[in-house]
């Protein structure tokens, strides 16, 4: 049996666990609450108001003005995720973290404890209770004979639900439901399927594999298998690891911008963040993707394949900038993103070809990496990324100090005085400043 543990409203729940007075209240996790951005996560108490992850913060504040808006702390959630992983590993070594808040557990090696549906349900209950007791968090659990059924079952009852299906139960539940509820069928795919008259999971299951192959190529028969609840993908244990497919960063700008210097500076910063991650994990990339979102929320992604794999920020930036110059029509932009894909392990990559021409550049890059490894990301940054630093609308870089903001609903005069004294004494500067808005910092 396979079990999927899906943490309920994970980021918001971690904040509620850390700060008990937030429990039972609408909590919205976001970047800096005083800046523009999107909702990262909403607690279950906020959801009846219509607040959803990915929604612009301004809209969330209109829908749910009394919520507690909490600046997210990615590191906090990753650490909690690792603690939960330790918990899961105490049951079975076959744990595959699927995302920061989801993990598959293969119970195949547990003997009688994981062999039957009843045994798996009992184990699922035990894990749920332990997560609640030790971490003050809720989890929904899906159980099935494979990953597909476990994953889809986990979404049937939330929060703190537990749902188990065999293949027959899966079909009984999901066949009448819209085809986009099938794991792996996105909005675009459901439109294509709808054009063929396939509107439910059952419709898909009853369509011939040949017809689906003709319409969707090799993916077609896999879709049909999924509709029947068939999935042969293995749980890949944590210790075996899986190489990432892409790495990227994006940022919602503090205000819409059509300033080329600012936008290029932001692109350079994003390229630098991606390059650092690539080098840190020993990868180089052969494809660069640019993402633009304008003030009307129209999103454009464009990508370019490269002849050689690269892992330096200037190469990534050059490609991203060219894509931006080609595709930007001058409209105010709300969001920029840069990502790298078609990843190769650096030893296998052709990066050496690039650097053989410029050994000094490679040596310099390594030296700069060592400085940042030791002193932090903000210690050395590309000068071009500092365009308009300090001006309104600037996106802070690295761990640079932020001024205290208007988040304070109340501040004592004494605290403000102390702050001013420290600032004047030069003690309020430096990289040990406030935490970073998610997605906006290395």
């Amino acid at each position: 049996m396979i079990l999927l543990v899906d943490m309920d409203a994970f980021f918001a729940s971690v904040e509620q666990a850390h700060h008990p007075h937030l429990r039972g209240r609408a909590v919205i996790v976001c970047g800096d609450p005083d800046r523009r951005g999107v909702v990262t996560a909403a607690s279950y108490e906020a959801r009846p108001f219509g607040v959803r992850a990915g929604m612009p913060l301004a809209e969330a504040k209109r829908l749910c003005p009394n919520a507690e808006y909490v600046e997210g702390s990615p590191r906090k959630y990753v650490e909690k995720s690792l603690e939960l992983l330790e918990c899961f590993l105490s049951y079975t070594p076959d744990v595959e973290p699927f995302s920061v808040d989801e993990a598959f557990l293969d119970l195949g090696r547990l003997g009688a404890r994981g062999a039957t549906m009843d045994a798996a349900i009992a184990l699922g209950r035990e894990i749920q209770e332990r997560i609640a007791r030790e971490h003050s968090l809720g989890a929904s659990i899906g159980i099935g004979p494979n990953k597909l059924i476990a994953k889809m079952a986990s979404g049937v009852r939330k929060p703190r639900g537990l749902t188990a299906f065999d293949e027959e139960g899966f079909r009984r539940h999901f066949w009448p439901r819209p085809v986009q509820e099938l794991w792996g069928v996105g909005p675009k795919m459901s439109v294509h399927l709808g054009a063929l008259g396939i509107r439910t999971v059952g419709d898909l299951g009853e369509t011939s594999a040949a017809a689906l192959e003709q319409a969707f190529g090799v993916v077609g028969p896999h879709l049909r298998d999924a509709a029947w609840g068939m999935d042969r993908s293995p749980v890949i244990p944590y210790h075996e690891g899986v190489d990432p497919k892409s790495m990227g960063h994006e940022v919602t700008l503090p205000e819409d911008s059509r300033d080329p210097a600012f936008l290029e500076g932001t692109l350079l910063r994003l390229a630098d963040q991606v390059a650092r991650r690539l080098r840190g994990d020993g990868f180089a990339a052969r494809t660069v993707t640019l993402k633009l979102r304008d003030f009307r929320f129209r999103t454009v992604t464009r990508q370019r394949a490269l002849d050689v794999a690269v892992d330096d920020h200037l190469s990534l930036f050059e490609v991203a900038r060219n894509l931006w110059r080609t595709n930007w029509r001058g409209e105010p932009l709300r969001l920029l993103g840069v990502s790298a894909s078609a990843l190769e392990k650096r030893g296998e990559a052709a990066q050496t070809e690039l650097f053989e021409r410029d050994e000094r550049a490679r040596t310099l890059q390594q030296a700069l990496d060592r400085v940042r490894d030791r002193l932090g990301e903000a210690s050395v940054v590309p000068a071009g990324s500092l365009t308009q630093r300090g001006e309104p609308g600037h996106v802070p870089f690295g761990a640079a100090q932020r001024q205290n903001r208007g988040t304070l609903s109340r501040r004592s005069a004494g605290a403000e005085l102390n702050r001013r004294i420290r600032r004047e004494a030069g003690r309020d500067e430096g990289p040990a400043g406030g935490s970073s808005p998610p997605g906006a910092q290395p």
Binding site: P20, H21, A432
Partner: protein
Amino acid sequence: MPACKTMFESLDDPVDVLTAFLDGVMRPIRFRWQGRVVRVRRVTGQWNRREGQAVLRYFAVQGSRDESYELCYDARGPRWTLKRAWREGA
């Protein structure tokens, strides 16, 4: 849904912290902030954040009046900083 009556403050205030080391585990006991001493009733969460080679240790704590704080310990100083506070509003 209960109305929110707390004040959230995003801070960066240096604070003096009385700290215990028990069984190799560090734990804040009390801290002085804005002229008063806050007794830490419960540590509700811990996590770390790297800044270069330095590891900053964060603690989510509850005070004796159920108010909530986030403290950060930076061994480079060494120094403690109060990062965030939630207190019941008046």
